[in-house]
């Protein structure tokens, strides 16, 4: 039973962190109707920015570094959206869906190779938020991972507040539901696109910066989390924020229990990602719109 609880605790903590990253992807999809294939690279940039901020400015509070790296990446996202995605919404691109896939894929390759050239191939790790591990009775958890998980919960709560309680949040929701109707009531959909993209990649960056002390950073560190995020947003329902949170936690738990209880223990870890994909396939089979997804016309 203790082993079961230990796996549940680990899965829950990881699931919350997964959800944070998937939230950014969901936000972008729900507003822009674009799957951001460079999401993992924004996660990677967040880790690197946090690392270099803490290396160059000795004594800087790591939480400030996380926040600043989020803002820096949000700014990059804002510029990218303005120059490369906005033309799509202005009717200047002949085949917008294909263009969106190609441009974000291109950005993904570009950022990954740029990181390799600029930051080098060796793994880096920013200083810990808190050193050591915390004994939860059931199991020990690294203080860094626990911190990342708690902060992820706080950020998710703040995001939900922003979406549901502020004018910008309601404007984003309006654009998500109907761009033309939103424009009629005075909301600028193009501006909302930019805000959503910057906010989404900023969240990915913060997730990367929060996890960098736990998992270190290399140029391809975003590859696995981004694939997982795609699974989570489909699982939760494309464009649904609560769905992404639930999907993230579910994937975290399934991966943890799958790896821990797989009949052939030597293979449990190898198939870890596949366990999530099995759940993904089942949900698509029985509820194609995901947990909270709505059918799109």
């Amino acid at each position: 039973m203790q082993y079961f609880m230990a796996l549940a605790t680990t899965g829950l903590i990881m699931g919350i962190i997964y959800a944070l990253m998937a939230l950014g992807l969901t936000l972008i999809f729900s507003i822009l109707n674009v799957i951001n294939f460079a999401h993992g690279e924004f996660y990677m940039l967040g880790g690197y920015f946090s690392y270099f901020l803490l290396t160059w400015f000795t004594g800087l509070n790591p939480f400030i570094a996380v926040l600043v790296s989020g803002l820096m990446v949000a700014l990059i996202g804002l510029i990218f959206e303005y120059f490369f995605l906005r033309p799509m919404h202005l009717g200047r691109i002949e085949r917008p869906p294909e263009y969106a896939v190609l441009i974000t894929f291109g950005l993904s390759f570009f950022l990954q190779n740029l990181a390799l050239a600029v930051f080098g191939p060796y793994p880096h790790r920013p200083p810990s938020f808190f050193s050591g591990a915390v004994d939860l009775g059931i199991t020990r958890v690294s203080a860094d991972r626990l911190t990342a998980s708690v902060l992820s919960l706080v950020l998710m709560a703040l995001l939900l507040l922003l979406i549901n309680k502020t004018w910008i949040g309601k404007a984003l929701q309006a654009v998500s539901q109907n761009k033309d109707a939103a424009a009629v009531v005075g909301i600028n959909p193009l501006r909302m696109n930019t805000i959503a993209f910057a906010l989404g990649v900023g969240l990915a960056s913060i997730a990367g910066a929060l996890l960098a002390p736990s998992f270190s950073i290399v140029p391809d560190v975003g590859a696995v989390p981004s694939i997982r995020s795609y699974v989570i947003i489909v699982l939760g329902g494309m464009g649904s924020l609560p769905g992404s949170i639930l999907g993230g936690i579910l994937i975290g738990l399934v991966e943890s229990f799958g790896a821990g209880y797989f009949p052939d223990p030597s293979r449990g870890l190898t198939y870890k990602t596949a366990f999530g994909l099995v759940i993904f396939a089942l949900v698509l089979l029985f509820k194609p719109t995901g947990f909270f997804g709505r059918r799109r016309s």
């Binding site: 082993y3 230990a6 796996l7 680990t10 899965g11 990881m14 990954q112 190779n113 390799l116 080098g120 191939p121 060796y122 793994p123 880096h124 790790r125 810990s128 050193s131 050591g132 591990a133 199991t139 020990r140 958890v141 690294s142 991972r145 736990s214 998992f215 270190s216 290399v218 140029p219 391809d220 560190v221 590859a223 696995v224 989390p225 991966e255 943890s256 229990f257 790896a259 821990g260 223990p265 030597s266 293979r267 449990g268 870890l269 190898t270 870890k272 990602t273």
Partner: protein, 455 residues
């Protein structure tokens, strides 16, 4: 009706057409042109057949063997992983060291009086990519020899291509026994075979007296071969309580498996994972309180030798031990010291064992070309078989060659294998200890520290 004149005219036009076509063929057909000129003089119908035959031959020649280099350069090919999913940390080191060796040789006057040009191909850790890169280097770039490679799975496919075209290849960092047990005349290796590499750690485990061993190995050719070799060799020593878990090299979270292992902690936990996986696993095992502890020792992968190891694992790296392929500082020769200093000056990074291996492999290949006196493949292979070269990792030679085949009783991988690769067990006894300062703990005759220091 065709008159004889018209027929003769047609034949002349046809012969001229064939001559023109053959003149437009690849630039490798100097001899063919000479022959076809003779044909034109005779202008006889039967000569057409000769001309066609010659054209066919010229098509096959460039693919069959590399040419003599044109101009003032000798082209060699380097291969290694420079991007994911390959271990691009090791690959970058190998490329840097190969470039450094080529530059040094060029500064000293080159080889056979010509400058050496290196074309380094990124094999990405993918076997199919390795095949394509080596194929391109041989058939399009016309390299006269190859050096490098890090991943065994990739190396195994590359040797097939090198063998097909008869191009000599000095493999620097591939460990699979099959690389040299293939018996291919073109393939040489200066890295240890997995059989040999594993035997060092297995003998060490037996020496310390650990009985319950758990390996977490990467799910790749390298990992599977390692797992098999470890398990078999430990069983031969009477150590049978051995468990193996596989994991993708880019796994982020090892905790579920580590929690399972923690239910019944072993005497030794090993992270046989290239890239960043080993550091992640070590930190997670350390956070869980699993290893390294007084009950459970931690055996790290080759990545433990990189300076970034400490940045990534912090205090958890103390008491970690690992197999080091290369020369520890206490055993450096003059060349090693110069190389280490020059590399660090040039790349602002201390080199690891992969850099040393790539550097020596390049020197060995180029020395063989110089000794062969030509870029003919067979001459280079013969020179490699007889090479005596002191590099940064020691004195290189190949014991079993065409003149001295591997005898029965010796493992087949000894073919074209450097018989004495430097392989040691090193243990970090202090936090932030440089690999060069860490004591060698095994083999005992080379040890300069206690066999194992427990937390």
């Amino acid at each position: 009706m065709c008159t004889p004149k018209r027929l003769l005219g047609l034949l002349v036009v046809f012969a001229v057409f064939v001559l023109t076509a053959s003149a437009c063929a690849p630039t490798t057909i100097v001899e063919t042109v000479v022959v076809t000129h003779e044909v034109e003089k005779e202008v006889i119908v039967t000569q057409e057949v000769q001309v066609e035959k010659e054209v066919i031959v010229t098509v096959e020649v460039p693919a069959a063997e590399p040419e003599m280099p044109e101009g003032d350069t000798i082209l060699i090919g380097g291969v290694g992983p420079l991007s994911a999913p390959g271990s691009f940390q090791a690959g970058t080191e190998m490329r840097n060291a190969t470039e450094m060796a080529v530059d040094e040789i060029n500064d000293a006057g080159g080889v056979l009086g010509k400058q050496v040009e290196l074309i380094f191909g990124d094999t990405e850790g993918l076997p199919e990519r390795g095949t394509a890169v080596v194929e391109r280097l041989i058939t399009q770039n016309h390299v006269v020899g190859l050096t490098g490679e890090y991943h065994s799975g990739v190396g195994l496919t590359e040797i097939e291509v090198a063998h097909k075209y008869g191009v000599p290849f000095v493999q620097a960092e591939t460990w699979a026994d099959e690389i040299t047990s293939s018996g291919y005349p073109e393939i040489f290796r200066i890295a240890p075979s997995i059989d040999f590499y594993s035997s060092i750690a297995v003998n060490y485990i037996a020496e310390v007296g650990w009985q319950k061993i758990v390996f977490v190995v990467e799910d790749s050719d390298y990992g599977h071969l390692q797992a098999e070799a470890w398990t078999d060799q430990l069983a031969a020593k009477g150590i049978t309580d051995v468990q193996v878990y596989f994991a993708d090299p880019d796994t982020e979270d090892f905790t579920p498996i580590l929690q399972r292992i923690q239910q019944d902690p072993p005497d030794m936990l090993a992270g046989v994972i290239t890239g960043i996986g080993n550091s992640r696993m070590l930190r997670q095992a350390c956070d869980l309180g699993l290893a390294p502890t007084t009950e459970t020792a931690y055996y790290g992968s080759v990545d433990s030798q990189y300076p970034e190891f400490w940045e990534n694992v912090g205090d958890c790296g103390q008491y970690v031990f690992y197999t080091y392929v290369g020369l520890p500082e206490s055993l450096w020769n003059d060349k090693t010291g110069t190389f280490m200093a020059d590399y660090e000056t040039r790349y602002k990074q201390a080199p690891g064992g992969s850099a040393m291996a790539a550097y020596d492999a390049t020197y060995i290949l180029l020395n063989a070309i110089e000794e062969a006196g030509s870029t003919d493949s067979q001459a280079i292979i013969a020179a490699l078989e007889g090479i005596q070269f002191t590099g940064v990792m020691g004195d290189f030679w190949f014991k079993y060659t065409a003149d001295n085949p591997v005898p029965e009783g010796e493992p087949a991988w000894m073919w074209h294998q450097w018989p004495t690769p430097n392989t040691y067990i090193i243990q970090y006894t202090e936090v932030n200890q440089a690999a060069g300062d860490a004591p060698v703990v095994f083999p005992l005759e080379r040890a300069n520290g206690p066999v194992y220091t427990s937390p």
